[in-house]
Amino acid sequence: MEDKLVIGDVVLESRLFIGTGKYSDDKMIPKIIEKSGAQVITVALRRMDFEDKSENVLNYIPKNVRLLPNTSGARNANEAVRIARLARAAGCGNWIKIEVISDNKYLLPDGYETIKATEILAKEGFVVLPYISPDLMVAKSLVDAGAAAVMPLGAPIGTNRGLKTKELIQILIDEISLPVIVDAGIGKPSDACEAMEMGAAACLLNTAIASAEDPVLMAEAFSHSVKAGRKAYLAGLGSVSKYANASSPLTGFLDSIENC
């Protein structure tokens, strides 16, 4: 059966998006991309440090993989828009992950500024994937603003705590017509699997792989778990009967009164 993820007008086979931050050595990135099967990779844009002689991260990313630059560092919509335009000018396509964080304590995204930035960038032809708290009203506004997907957090970024916001993400999956991609907080392959079983369109993760003892092996584990979760979702989960016939029936009266 065909089961492809469509974002903007791009058809993807893989439902695992991965980040490129926090690796002990960027040289392992190609191997991680290969083992994860990811076709979408996030990168960040930073001011050049002229003293830093390290290799450019793009050199480790195969050309057939789609880059998803993020706007990390942006504290408001204007800064996010500025970063997005710079990222596009760098010649890496028109996808952008909007990440507006004005809270340095929990690193939670700013919904209002994210909506503003999405509106501006979608009009300029960007394929906008905003990172949000799983808030239905924010997500609905993003649909109207022209987002290509919404990316709710499972738990605060970098915490590896799993799907703490499960109930709220489920509401987004049920109510939002765009792909819902769970971003941030996923710590274990079982978390990613659970998100996919719930009907998430994809998972984006970084820290869980980068901070593993063996990141390459963990990338492979996530690849399997995302596929397993997706298949379970498509197969339709079974359920356990909870409403057996009660001793005091509620419908018994139907036999004792005239029928209409």
């Binding site: 990168v43 450019n56 990222a87 760098a90």
Partner: protein, 66 residues
């Protein structure tokens, strides 16, 4: 003359272009993006862009991120 490069004051020769500046820093033009006085300047225009006193230039590149 003085310019501001990535937030720091820097002394450069008169009449140099953006391209001259980038090459003088040993940067690969294909992996960076340049903002000149808050406007994005395409690579093709770097050679025609002559720097002036007090210009502000930001050179950015991609790094790992999530």
């Amino acid at each position: 003359m003085k310019i501001i490069l990535n937030g720091k004051k820097e002394n450069v020769q008169e009449n140099i272009t953006l391209m001259d500046l980038i090459l003088s820093k040993n940067l690969n033009p294909d992996t960076i993006v340049v903002e000149y006085n808050l406007n994005i300047v395409k690579k093709e225009e770097w050679s025609n862009t002559f720097l002036k006193e007090n210009d502000s230039i930001e050179v950015l590149r991609f790094v790992g991120g999530g």
